[in-house]
Amino acid sequence: MKLREAYNTSLHTAFPRIRAKLINPVSREFVETDLYIDTGFEGTIILTNNVRENLKLDLTILDEDVYAFHAGYFPSRIIPVIVILEINKVYRRMIKAYIHPFSKRNLVGREVINNLNMCLRGPEKMLEIF
C-alpha cells in the first residue's frame, strides 16, 4: 500500500509532511494534523501547545525532565506526554510525544521516521510512504 502526501508549498521552501491522527489514550479524543518531517529531531514527535489543549494532553503527562537542544544551542524544557500516533494504515503506536512551548508546527522525528519506508520526491513536491 502506498500513501502519497503533497508537500506544504505555502512555505517559502516547500516542506514534506505527513497527515497523522493523534489519539489521547485516556479520553479517546483525537485530532488530525500535519506532521512535518524533521530528520534533525532525534525523538518521536513534537507537538504545539494548541494540540496539547485541543487533545487534552494534560491527562497523559509524564513526569520527566526533558530538554530540547536546537542545533546545539538554546535548550528549552519540553513536556513528555503519552499519545497514540496513527499514520494511515502504515503506523499505529502508543508513543512518548513532546510538547514544545515555542513550536508553531508539529514535527515528526527520526524515532518514528526510522520505522517508515519513505521516499521524498522533491521535484514533484510529493512524499510517498510504502
Binding site: H12, P25, V26, S27, R28, Y36, D38, T39, G40, F41, E42, G43, I46, K56, D58, L59, T60, I61, L62, D63, E64, D65, V66, Y67, A68, F69, H70, A71, G72, Y73, P75, R77, I78, I82, M94, Y98, H100, F102, S103, K104, R105, L107, G109
Partner: protein, 135 residues
C-alpha cells in the same frame, strides 16, 4: 561587533596570571580569551528551576517513599494530588486512567516512573526556527 570595557571583581589571581601568560605566548589579548571562554560557556545548557508544581512535589515524595519500600513501577498523581495510584507498567497506568476518566472527569494526570529524577536531552533540528527573509 561592538565592544565594551568592563571591570570584574573577584577574578582568581592565579588563573588570571596563567591566562595572561598564555595570552602573551599566543600573541592574543586577555579580552580575546575571555570573549572566547564566555562564548563557549554560553553554548552549555542552562537549567532554570521552574515554579513549584504540586503534582511534581507529590510525585517526588511518593517516589522517595516507594523507593525506600523497594517498590517498582509507576505512580499517577491526579489533579494536583486529589488522588494517587500505583501501577506496574505504563500500559496499566493508561488503562487505569482511562477507566477512571470514564467514571469521573479530571483535568490533569501526571505519570511518574518510580526511580530517581534524571535529566534527558533531545537534539532538535532547525525546523522550529524560521529564518525571516528580506530583512
Amino acid at each position: 561587533m561592538s565592544k565594551k570595557s568592563i571591570f570584574l571583581r573577584g577574578i582568581d589571581e592565579d588563573v588570571y596570571r596563567e591566562v595572561k601568560l598564555r595570552a602573551v605566548l599566543l600573541g592574543v589579548s586577555v579580552s580575546e580569551i575571555v570573549n572566547a571562554a564566555l562564548r563557549e560557556w554560553l553554548k552549555k545548557p542552562v537549567i532554570v528551576k521552574e515554579k513549584k508544581d504540586p503534582s511534581r512535589e507529590i510525585a517526588d515524595s511518593l517516589v522517595e517513599k516507594y523507593l525506600k519500600e523497594g517498590k517498582r513501577g509507576y505512580i499517577i498523581v491526579i489533579d494536583d494530588g486529589a488522588r494517587s495510584l500505583l501501577c506496574s507498567s505504563i500500559e496499566e497506568a493508561i488503562e487505569k486512567l482511562r477507566n477512571l476518566y470514564e467514571k469521573e472527569k479530571f483535568s490533569k494526570a501526571l505519570i511518574r516512573k518510580i526511580e530517581p529524577r534524571k535529566v534527558e536531552f533531545l537534539e532538535v533540528g532547525g525546523s522550529l526556527l524560521e529564518i525571516k527573509r528580506g530583512l
